[in-house]
């Protein structure tokens, strides 16, 4: 247990978990941005980047892509719990 300047308690374990959660959210967000960019922006353009605006079709695609990404997130997370994935995966590292 650490005391900060004002004498309040900081629980290091709690901070570590919150930081890990934050890292996870950021990682997922970054992959979401990249994946939906690849699905909705990059491929449909035969004339590459002729305009800087989001086209109507691109905007609609982004909304659907985002919704499907969250659904896959949920699906994979459930699947890994069913398979007892955590134990298998970290266990497989051979340490």
């Amino acid at each position: 247990i650490r005391l900060d300047r004002d004498g309040a308690n900081i629980d290091p374990a709690k901070m570590e978990i919150a930081t890990a959660e934050l890292d996870m959210i950021t990682d997922v967000f970054n992959r979401l941005v990249t994946s939906c960019h690849a699905k909705c922006i990059a491929p449909g353009n035969s004339t590459r980047y002729a305009e800087g605006e989001l086209l109507k079709g691109e905007a609609v695609c982004i909304d659907r892509c985002t919704a499907k990404f969250f659904a896959v997130n949920k699906l994979v997370s459930e699947r890994m719990q069913t398979m007892g994935g955590t134990a298998q995966v970290t266990g497989s590292f051979g340490r």
Binding site: A8, M15, A18, I25, N30, H37, A42, G52
Partner: protein
């Protein structure tokens, strides 16, 4: 993220962590965007300077990526708010 069960010192600590992470995120977004627009728009290596077409392409690519990232961010916030409400009190 729900920080409501954090005391003042813990909230202050996490705010600092968050600020540092946001700066890192921004840098990563910036360099990722630049790499992506370079790879897509620049394909002619017969000269050292960008052509007019390449410049336009990079500017549009940048604008579009930022708008894309903003829109995805909006959907992400809505989703997180929904999740929070379902978990709620």
């Amino acid at each position: 993220m729900d920080f409501s069960n954090f005391n003042g010192a813990e909230q202050a600590h996490m705010t600092k962590v968050l600020e540092k992470k946001q700066m890192q995120d921004f840098m990563k977004l910036y360099s990722g965007l630049m790499e992506r627009c370079f790879m897509t728009c620049v394909n002619d290596f017969t000269s050292k300077s960008l052509t007019g077409n390449e410049i336009t392409c990079v500017q549009n690519c940048t604008d579009k990526f930022l708008k894309h990232s903003e829109r995805v961010g909006a959907r992400f916030s809505e989703y997180n708010a929904e999740q929070m409400q379902q978990a709620g009190p």
